[in-house]
């Protein structure tokens, strides 16, 4: 197994771990972190292929993902804070009544 294959496997592992976390964990903050994990799994893949194809496009995309992730977290954390203050819990099941 060469380096690229290992990195792809690592990226897939990170993504799968993150997805699993989102599905099985109940704590909102943990779910958010798992989502970051998934994003980073994708980032690893981008960097890997960017290096392999001697192009900077992939690397630039990684920065885009960083920015989007930062923006997302900046919105998500205050929402979670407000929700936690109102519901007095971080359990996702308590937020079911938010559905549209």
């Amino acid at each position: 197994m060469d380096k690229t294959q290992m990195l792809v496997a690592l990226s897939a592992g990170l993504f799968a771990l993150g997805l699993l976390g989102v599905i099985v964990r109940r704590n909102v903050l943990v779910m958010l972190m798992c989502m970051e994990l998934m994003l980073n799994g994708v980032n690893v893949l981008l960097v890997t292929f960017a290096q392999q194809s001697h192009s900077t496009v992939g690397a630039v995309l990684v920065f885009l993902v960083f920015v989007v992730a930062a923006a997302e977290i900046a919105i998500a954390i205050p929402i979670v804070l407000l929700l936690a203050r109102r519901k007095r819990t971080l359990d996702i099941d308590a937020y079911v009544d938010l559905k549209g």
Binding site: L19, V22, Y95, L98, K99
Partner: protein, 626 residues
């Protein structure tokens, strides 16, 4: 001058556009000048064309106005073709047409839709000229449909009366049936010959190697179209109802010109019919039946215009008899004389109706000869002409038809002659009956009509005099002889030649027998006719009921069609099939949505799981199909 044929056609169109768009603003005087002036100009142009034709030794004038479409290596052109036959038709259409336009000035003076009337009349003339001048069947068909449209518009001219609007609709729909046959005939011809130009079609059929298509099939299909337009059995039902239109319209469209389009069509395509004995026999049979039955109905009608309408159907039947025995020139001859005396009769009837303030029932007329003498005199001349009293126009043409019905080697027979001669007798009888009931005897007018009765203005009586003069002397033009190079007369069976003179006397005798019969029956108080009516109540009922053809159509076509439309197309097709399918699809969507909506329960874990399932499914799919 070049392009004169195009000019003839376009002049009435210009009149239609000017009067149609601006007529209401410009006043009646302007409308009259444009509406009558342009047809008169067209008539003058037609005479110039005839002179051109003569100087060119009667070689047909051909003019291409416009290339309509080029499909593959075939091009469809709007081109005009002017030969002897066209010349006769164009002169009748523009000549009689112009006279009737001028007559209309007086007749329609009080009408509020004066400009609309003249616009429609000019539109009719435009399409009629397109019909007779078109070189290709396609152009003829455009004119054919166009005159149908103009006829519909003019029958339903007073469309605020639902009965009149319905009569227009009936005419239009009945004609559609004929047009279906016409179109099929055109398709078959085009497939076989690759051209629709009528001179080429005729040449193709008359040349040594006949085309690979049955002349009889084409002939019958086209004749179905002619049946619709020329009101032959079984498509004759629209013409009597068409009398709902203004009377000059009945004279122009439903007597002199449009209804003769079927006769023109068959004569124009004589090349086909000469090689289609079966189709010709069918034409003669339908023609003679129509002539006879329409004449019997005309015997008992009491509406002055209805009598004339059935008389028109009957005369058209006689023209078809001539066509059926191959005497195409004679049919055109009768068409030409008929245009004069029937126009004169209709316009005379219009003058009577005008004088009586709208009364059309001959039971409420009588004794009008003294009160409206000019109308009476012209009406009497035209009646004598249609009855076949020599030496008026109708005598010559009708006698020739009878002669060829008897002696033509192309389908003439004694039976055909006997029925046609019987029709001639009936014609004379019902026409003189009409004359007697309208103009002689004691007055049966209602008091207000009697007070109101007056002779028509000179613009109307003048036209009547001109037409009566033409009905009197029109027969001296040897039209069949003029047309002979184009439409040769059929060979007369040698053994029958000796009968020509005796049959001539028979014709004269028949005409006078009708006159005498009418005078005998309807003289005095018409009590003899009344006794005759009581003697045969059943027969009278059948005749006044017009053989109940309308009722039969109602029962056997209308009602089943209504039933099919209501039950099959509306209840089943529209409501169940189409609406049902659409409602079903909508219901399916709604039910699916309500089932899927249950998934949206706010549980983020479920959502994420479904995302995972989606990704896995997508990957699995691409794995398999990658």
């Amino acid at each position: 001058m070049d392009r004169l044929l195009t000019v003839i056609v376009l002049l009435p169109l210009a009149g239609f556009i000017i009067n149609g768009l601006l007529g209401n603003r410009l006043g009646k005087r302007f409308v009259s000048v444009v509406g009558c002036g342009l047809p008169v100009l067209a008539f003058a142009a037609a005479i110039v064309c005839l002179l051109d034709l003569r100087t060119s030794g009667f070689a047909p004038l051909v003019e291409t106005a416009y290339t309509w479409a080029v499909i593959g290596d075939r091009s469809f052109e709007i081109s005009f073709y002017f030969d002897r036959l066209t010349a006769v038709m164009v002169l009748i259409v523009t000549g009689v047409g112009s006279l009737i336009h001028i007559y209309s000035i007086g007749y329609m003076k009080e009408d509020t839709s004066y400009a609309r009337y003249f616009a429609y009349l000019n539109l009719f003339l435009f399409f009629m000229l397109l019909l007779v001048l078109g070189r290709s069947l396609l152009v003829l068909f455009v004119g054919w449909e166009g005159v149908g449209l103009a006829s519909y518009l003019l029958i339903g001219f007073w469309f605020d009366d639902p009965d009149k609007a319905r009569a227009g609709k009936k005419a239009f729909l009945t004609n559609r049936i004929g047009d279906a046959g016409f179109l099929l005939g055109m398709f078959v011809l085009f497939q076989a010959l690759g051209t629709l130009e009528m001179d080429k079609i005729n040449t193709a059929f008359t040349s040594g190697t006949p085309p690979m298509v049955s002349a009889s099939l084409v002939g019958i299909l086209l004749f179905i179209g002619a049946c619709g337009k020329s009101a032959q059995i079984p498509l004759h039902v629209w013409l009597p109802d068409a009398m709902a239109g203004p009377t000059p319209v009945s004279a122009l469209i439903h007597a002199a010109t449009m209804v003769t389009a079927g006769v023109y069509l068959v004569a124009r395509l004589s090349g086909i019919y000469m090689h289609a004995p079966e189709a010709s026999a069918a034409i003669a049979a339908v023609g003679v039946m129509t002539a006879f039955f329409a004449a019997t109905i005309a015997l008992v009608q009491t509406d002055i215009k209805k009598v004339l309408a059935y008389s028109t159907i009957s005369q058209l039947g006689l023209m078809f008899v001539a066509l059926g025995v191959g005497a195409y020139g004679v049919a055109i001859f009768h068409l030409y004389t008929h245009a004069f005396f029937k126009a004169c009769l209709f316009l005379g009837a219009g003058s009577v109706i005008h004088a009586l303030g709208g009364e059309q029932d001959i039971n409420k007329m009588g004794g009008l000869a003294r009160k409206i003498p000019i109308t009476f005199a012209t009406f009497a001349v035209a009646t004598a002409a249609i009855a076949g009293i020599p030496p008026l126009a109708g005598f010559f043409s009708k006698d020739e038809i009878l002669w060829f019905a008897f002696a033509s080697s192309f389908g003439g027979s004694t039976l055909l002659y006997v029925v046609a001669a019987g029709t001639a007798l009936l014609t004379s009888l019902y026409m003189f009956r009409l004359l007697w009931r309208t103009f002689f005897g004691a007055s049966r007018l209602s008091p207000e009509a009697a007070h109101h009765v007056h002779e028509s203005p000179p613009s109307m009586t003048g036209i009547l005099i001109v037409l009566a003069a033409l009905s009197a002397v029109g027969g001296f033009v040897a039209l069949p002889h003029f047309l002979e190079p184009l439409l040769p007369l059929p060979e007369v069976r040698a053994e029958l030649v000796a009968f020509e003179a005796p049959l001539l006397y028979v014709s004269v005798a028949l005409a006078f027998a009708g006159l005498a019969g009418a005078a005998f029956l309807y003289g005095g108080n018409a009590e003899r006719a009344e006794r005759l009516r009581r003697g045969f109540p059943m027969l009278h009922r059948v005749l006044t009921g017009k053989y109940f053809v309308d009722e039969a159509y109602e029962r056997f076509f209308d009602r089943p069609l209504f039933w099919i439309s209501e039950r099959v197309f509306l209840q089943f097709g529209d409501r169940k099939l189409f609406d049902g399918t659409l409602h079903g699809i909508a219901g399916l969507g709604r039910r699916t949505a309500s089932a899927l909506a249950r998934v949206q329960n706010g549980d983020l874990h479920l959502y994420a799981f479904l995302v995972l399932a989606g990704i896995v499914a997508t990957l699995a799919w691409s794995w398999h199909h990658g």
